[in-house]
């Protein structure tokens, strides 16, 4: 559905807020903390030319160039996480033990093309 987005500043590739509420997915009786957290996600256009703000990789810059020559064959680059953050979760496991565990790459900090 990327192709259908009209090009406006709000559609440019950037981080979008997404709050995961553990109660909403029925995890509240085994997850002690946090009650939820900002996982966020990346969404939006990576148009030619890629400005500095879009934090494009070198390859992404080449791909936008190729897209401008052959839009039918080469799609625009994707909007993806380029920096992620871990979270720690405090929960009960199936044996009623109390566990504090660190999980990597659970939240998006920054997006780029």
């Amino acid at each position: 559905s990327y192709g259908t987005l009209p090009l406006m500043a709000s559609n440019i590739c950037k981080k979008r807020r997404l709050y995961i509420d553990f109660k909403a997915v029925g995890w509240q009786n085994w997850v002690i903390a946090p009650h939820g957290y900002f996982a966020n996600y990346c969404h939006g256009e990576c148009p030619y030319p890629l400005t500095m703000m879009l934090r494009g990789s070198n390859h992404a810059i080449l791909q936008t160039l190729a897209h401008s020559f052959a839009p039918e064959d080469v799609p625009l680059p994707c909007c993806v996480p380029i920096k992620m953050a871990p979270i720690s979760m405090l929960f009960y496991d199936n044996n009623d033990n109390v566990v504090l565990r660190h999980y990597d790459n659970m939240a998006v900090d920054e997006c780029g093309c």
Partner: protein, 220 residues
């Protein structure tokens, strides 16, 4: 949704959605470590969550196990100054096979210090499975881990069980511990039998999942 949830839970290291039956209170030390990492005052950058500063060991999973053992019934064969004899058992089967134990610590906590000033003697044994040969050589099925005197003051006693926990990863070898507490002061025996009422035991372990915690690349 359940199908997708199972996928997420497996990625988070849960074979299925945990369903605690009688969840115990969260130990203060876990709250402390959690708030250091996730609290409002926690530093947002460059936290090494594969290292537990509180215990100064590498690790990404900290667990507190409740004791599933029981007190041994009184027997006339017991020494006259025995206050209590308790089987201590922790079920470590929840640990994933990739995990490496980097710390195991037993905590004995006496919730009352009604015996202020009295001295007790404690012996902690690991119960071992003996091979036929060892039985034949009359090897003891108990290995002494710690023997000490202590005074009942308002604090906990800690014992390093890191190596014992690594042995227990092999579930067939996990036969638990035996705790014996003796009174050392004459004339207090009938009193000290009540020590059982306010003794609580728990095990805290720190493990490292090498699949999750990659060694930091050496700087060029």
């Amino acid at each position: 949704f359940r199908h997708r949830e199972d996928y997420v839970l497996i990625k988070l290291g849960h074979p299925d959605r945990p369903n605690p039956v009688s969840p115990p209170p969260v130990p203060p030390v876990l709250w402390k470590i959690y708030n250091q990492r996730m609290g409002s005052k926690a530093p947002k950058k460059n936290q090494d969550l594969c290292y537990v500063e509180e215990f100064n060991v590498p690790g990404s999973i900290i667990r507190v196990f409740p004791d599933q053992g029981e007190f041994a019934p009184w027997s006339p064969e017991h020494p006259s100054n025995l206050c209590l004899q308790k089987i201590i058992f922790f079920n470590l089967s929840i640990m994933e096979k990739e995990e490496v134990v980097t710390m195991g610590r037993l905590e004995l906590r006496f919730n009352q210090n009604a015996y202020y000033g009295l001295t007790f003697e404690l012996r902690l044994y690991m119960t071992r499975m003996l091979s036929l040969k060892e039985i034949h050589n009359q090897k003891s099925s108990r290995k002494l881990l710690a023997a000490q005197t202590f005074r009942l003051l308002h604090k906990s006693l800690y014992f390093d069980l890191t190596n014992v926990c690594e042995t227990w990863r092999n579930h067939r070898k996990n036969l638990g511990l035996l705790l014996e507490i003796f009174s050392r002061d004459e004339g207090t025996l009938d009193e000290c039998w009540r020590i059982q009422t306010f003794l609580s035991t728990s095990l805290i372990t720190v493990t490292l999942n090498p699949l999750q915690c990659k060694k930091p690349r050496t700087k060029r």
